[in-house]
Symmetry: C2
């Protein structure tokens, strides 16, 4: 049996089975967006690592070098955002094909350092190696959050309402357009995503969210993960899902169901979060502090089913998310 | 121009030029064995990332899966040892070829978690991705050290004596033997190296070493890096270099100069460190607390030359170290 016959979740479970019981200071271990540790009382650190591989996560044919660097950091920042954490530093580990032009190397570093500076975080170190394989960009980030404010996937209860930031579907539509050799008005959403760090910290500080996750593997996957970790089901209102209008047009022109395409598409670095009904006021306070749209898209249920319904079609099972494994 | 035309040091310099001035809390940035940060006063953290790529850093033909996992963590622990730090946690990022057998995946994780448990550190998280290229194992470690005790490469002064732990040459000899299809009595040194964590923390706590580095790219490279970072030269006594006897035999049988082979060979995870002459007593105290041999191999000089001499040959320039880049 090869690893390609297992899901990412199954592989992670095989790792978890090999770990000793977690120490007390490991507040959140493998399986969430990021690890949360408390090396000293009341000082909580959040750590995440993400890896981009050429031809798997990007294609140098249509992804410029600086966008590779930007994305490699942004996907990690999105994991911090999903925990309500603020970034402090990053480590950059690059596996470089020998034929990589130095100008591309510089571009990757430029994209990464520019984004890092904007968030006032610093590249503290890293590693360089050569590889006979594809360009591989591995970024580790470290951030911080207050102990009781860390957001995890596992706190939603039946009746909690589900919200999503921004709009979804743009990255999938952009990727389809770029792959087919077209220009894309949505290219920025795919090439230079912005992690929702401010919304994440607002949700954490105002104790709005009972669970939170980013949409790196798509909205459907995020709903599935939050529901699974929280032990609830979910009912998603397909009509409410905020689909980027240009993406909607594209999906319709391609004769794809826009709601299902947007739900299943990956690379939208928005946040999905759950809110107890009686915390709606707290959410209103957060809305006043940010321009990022926040849309109610469904509700957590006591029954375990994951369902999406819309005015056009009756209730259907949630589509699978986007995965790089089976 | 491609990256293969530049040295690792030149590539790191290109990254450093793109970084803003380091914040005050970044005590040691890119270019040392590990990064040292002080997120809060007097609490110092040490971070390191290292990446092993199949066919570059190991060969699955003769490196068993558990040894891949062991080495991927050990090389990082060695970086912590070189800073005088104690490990706390690791993040594991794996890029997996689709055809990798699950049994090998399990073996890699077993090798890593077994070594982690022995050092009472925990795998706090990580990332899994598929790759069309070679198996790539990226490990990030986080450890801690007291602020004034962190060892760097840059504190040696002329007159400081240079010491090395253990014996050198074993990994190179083992690799040459395994590559040529032989069995090797030195295989363990190459396959399952032990980071010198205890010696590192003893050197740090007893304030013995003015500079320290591990030998991942060979003893000659370590001497060059410490001398460069400290702004000194070095004179190495070739007769004093503690060469593993079986490695010495092998080099002689291969008609290689054993001293030069041992100096230039990589993958020895020993420590090179400098000691002020009047701190010899402190060093004696450390020797009493460890069984690891510690051998004086030379002295730092005011002139910038890096020289090795022995009874068999007159003074010669230090050979280059082992590098995965040009």
């Amino acid at each position: 049996m090869t690893v390609s016959e297992l899901t990412e979740r199954e592989l992670i479970a095989r790792i978890q089975r090999r770990l000793p019981p977690p120490p007390e200071w490991l507040l959140v271990g493998p399986g969430d967006d990021a690890a949360v540790v408390e090396p000293e009382r009341n000082r909580v650190e959040v750590l995440s690592v993400d890896c981009l591989v050429d031809t798997v996560h990007f294609d140098r044919k249509f992804v410029p070098a600086d966008a590779i660097g930007h994305r490699a950091l942004a996907v990690n920042l999105s994991d911090l955002a999903a925990m309500g954490a603020s970034p402090r530093l990053a480590l950059l580990s690059l596996a470089l094909p020998e034929a990589l032009p130095v100008s591309e190397f510089d571009g990757i570093v430029d994209g990464l350092t520019t984004l890092a500076s904007r968030h006032r975080m610093h590249i503290a170190g890293g590693n360089l190696t050569s590889t006979p394989g594809p360009l591989t960009v591995d970024v580790t980030v470290v951030g911080s959050v207050k102990r009781r404010q860390a957001l995890t996937r596992g706190g939603a209860r039946p009746g909690d309402e589900l919200y999503v930031t921004g709009a979804v579907g743009s990255a999938r539509a952009a990727l389809e357009q770029l792959r087919s050799g077209r220009t894309s008005a949505l290219a920025t959403a795919y090439l230079r995503p912005e992690a929702r760090l401010r919304v994440g910290t607002l949700l954490a500080r105002n104790r709005v969210a009972s669970a939170c996750m980013d949409l790196s593997d798509g909205l459907a996957d995020a709903v599935r993960q939050v529901a699974g970790a929280s032990g609830v089901g979910a009912h998603i209102d397909g009509d409410a899902v905020p689909i980027e209008p240009l993406a909607q047009e594209w999906f319709e022109a391609q004769q794809q169901d826009p709601v299902f395409a947007a739900l299943a598409g990956g690379d939208d670095y928005e946040l999905l979060f759950a809110v107890r009904p009686h915390f709606r006021r707290r959410l209103a306070a957060v809305r006043r502090l940010t321009d990022v749209p926040i849309t109610r898209i469904g509700v957590c249920t006591a029954t375990p089913e994951l369902v999406v319904s819309s005015s056009k079609r009756s209730a259907a099972p949630l589509p699978p998310g986007y995965g790089h494994f089976r």
